[in-house]
Amino acid sequence: MFHFASALTGRMNMQAFPRDTITAGGALSMVFALIAIAAFLTYKKRWKWLWKEWLTSLDPKRIGVMYIIVALVMLLRGLGDVLLIRTQQATSVGSSHGILNSDHFQQIFSAHGSIMIFFVAMGLMFGLINLILPLHIGARDVAFPFLNSVAFWLFVAGMALMNLSIIFGEFSAAGWLAYPPLSELQYSPGVGVDYWIWSLQIAGVGSLLSGVNFLTTIFKMRAPGMTMMKMPIFVWSVLCSMLLVVFAFPILTVTLALLYFDRSLGMHFFTSTGGGNPMMYVNLIWAWGHPEVYILVLPAFGIYSEVVATFARKRLFGYKSMVWALGAITFLSFSVWLHHFFTMGAGADVNAFFGIMTMVIAVPTGVKIFNWLFTMYHGRILFATPMLWFMGFIATFTVGGVAGVLMAVPPADFQIHNSLFLVAHFHTMIIGGVVFGYFAGITYWFPKIFGFKLNERLGRYAFWSWLVGFLLAFIPLYILGFMGATRRLDHYSASEGWQGLFIVAGVGVLFVLLGVGFQILQFIVSIIQRKQNIDATGDPWNGRTLEWSAPSPVPFYNFTTIPEVHSRDAFWETKRAKISMPPRYEDITLPKNSPMGIFIAAFAFMVGFGCIWHIVWLIVLGLIGVVITVLVRSADEDTEETTTAAEVKRLDRVARKVAA
């Protein structure tokens, strides 16, 4: 009987539910939020609408919006973690031990890092790529629309697993990259590390599929006449980023799988006994992890390039050098990973090589910074919100970059390795570089997708709160790093004299929260006042690229006729030459909705859950489910539907508000 139970439920037991107040509070608030949303949808009778119009949609714009919504919700979760971390650090001094015990504190910073990278930054990135990439290259869709839906739902499945760990079980306490031997079974016997492995593994496979999809889209679906050197810089940045995805994510897949084999099958890849080699893990994870940083930041660079050219009313300065800089960064990003562990003891020669490569990669990044500055030079700059995010980025990112070059010097790195200086450095890069870029992108393209602009005043408030909060939160960390404070610190002695700076950092977090509050308010107010901010022209910012030639909100088919491209800044040149083409209408064939992506991801979720809790039947069931759903989908040949030219004409006239 005992064996039967363990076969049925693996290593689950009642101990898995949360037992301390803070976790229970988090778990309960999540459950209540889900119940509230479900009740609201039921009350409004919106389930069918949600399913038909959104969840099963293969339209990349809808998928993009869903990515961004999930990412913003996860941003709130990640910020909640920050609040706990900084409260703990501001209060846990000397005889006081703060609000969290060590184990819980470790789980929280591990979850914070994993969530912010995998489910916020990646989600915002894939969301914006989905929204804008097809429009930018003058296409109606991505190369593999169904694969796109599968990738999104795998991302959601990974996100769900990670959040499930709060309600049921525990999360990894081994840091956001789970270094062994700490993450091995011997030292982390619970399910936490397995939750970490499987939520990243499933979301990572989704990212890999997206990489394949967007690369093919860029190579095969550009509008006629758009040669590679006429692509908008954003498209180039996505191309480079997706190349990195395709080359880097398989390494993550392997690394996570090997760690799981160690933990579940008793293998010896990274164990401290049995011939295992923990440092091999660190090499592997950073061979993925360093390119990952560039995967996130390159599309943000692309967004900045679009934003600065639009709001400076000038052609982007140094297009070709921008392209070469992107290419150089892509290539070099695979040759710097060891700078994350100079202290490993690989020897002076190895450290010198990676130190020099790290300094070299700053050169193309510098080229880009100067190109952006020269784009603004002699431009007539309009300080709209996207431009503010850009200016904030230029200032903070340069400081963070200089801090990075400082740490590229191995002897200097030995002093500040794993200190709060490092934490401050990479947050400057990720917040100042990546997050600001995606916020700029969301504000910039919002009217294209929804047909009205976001409120500018609240946008400015949000920007300034974020910027001030960011500086207050991280400048103290640079100083604390020099004073010897290490990362992941849940308690310190009062004689260190660190508490004041930790309190300042905590106040900074409050300012960031204020910024987020303004952003939420900005969305609400803008939706209520959408009539005032309506974008009737389809070109609210006097844009330069093809997406602004379509009406706002952009219809599901994107373009009535696929545009022909003769130059960079194709739409700007059309406007300048005052060419207006009489509209032509044609039959448009696009994919039908499909729920199969949701089913595939649901079965993948089962596999992940089964692997975490060692429930064999669930793993088998999930795998069979994945195979069958894939087969059913591939046997379906009726996957497209055609909108007739007459219907397109009618829709286009409605969209452009032309009287029939």
Binding site: V246, P250, I251, L265, H268, G275, N277, L284, A287
Partner: protein
């Protein structure tokens, strides 16, 4: 005329899937490259257990290799037969490819079984963990290929040799040849170097 137009219309779609599939194969290359790198690091991590010299038998592995290489040849024949729209030759070549692939997987499983029974499972040492993971990942790919082959065969029986089926056979052959190349690297790096 109309047929040419249809061919023209269906062409870009095919070229998309083929390029997409090449990119997928590239990701798989990186996956195996990582496993090869891991194996290279773990090669001498035998932790007092047996090394490749004591474990591997070259004639056995050579038999596996010949089965897989021949299946690649018959897979090529299958694609050629598809081009001339010969359904029975496609089915024959497909059947032979399947049987050869299945025999390969059976031999591999029996080799694994043998190792485990003798107490040399993946738990024994870092070297054996790396060996089992690398070779079994390839074996898993071959098994997925076999499943795909069955699906393709079933499709041909049901719907004949249409354009979609042709395309899928082409994609399958890319996959199968790729697995062949990976096996040749495994053969050289794991077994040939291992038995010395």
């Amino acid at each position: 005329m109309s047929e040419a137009m249809v061919a023209h219309q269906s062409h870009p779609d095919d070229s998309k899937s083929i390029l997409g599939f090449w990119i997928y194969i590239m990701t798989d290359c990186v996956l195996f490259a990582s496993l090869f790198a891991v194996f290279a690091v773990m090669r001498n991590a035998t932790f007092g257990g047996p090394n490749g010299h004591e474990l591997f038998s070259l004639p056995f592995v050579l038999a596996e290799t010949m089965l897989l290489l021949t299946s690649s040849f018959t897979c090529g024949l299958m694609v050629l037969a598809g081009r001339v729209r010969s359904k029975q030759w496609v089915m024959l070549a497909l059947g032979v490819t399947f049987l050869l692939g299945l025999s390969f997987v059976c031999l591999e499983v029996s080799e694994f079984r043998h190792l485990v029974i003798e107490g040399n499972s993946w738990r024994r040492s870092g070297f054996l963990s790396a060996y089992f993971t690398l070779v079994a990942t390839h074996g898993l790919h071959v098994s997925i290929g076999l499943l795909w082959l069955v699906v393709n065969g079933w499709r041909i029986v049901k719907r004949g040799l249409g354009d979609v089926t042709q395309k899928r056979l082409t994609l399958f052959s890319l996959f199968w040849h790729f697995l062949d190349i990976i096996w040749i690297i495994i053969f050289s790096m794991v077994y040939l170097v291992g038995v010395r």
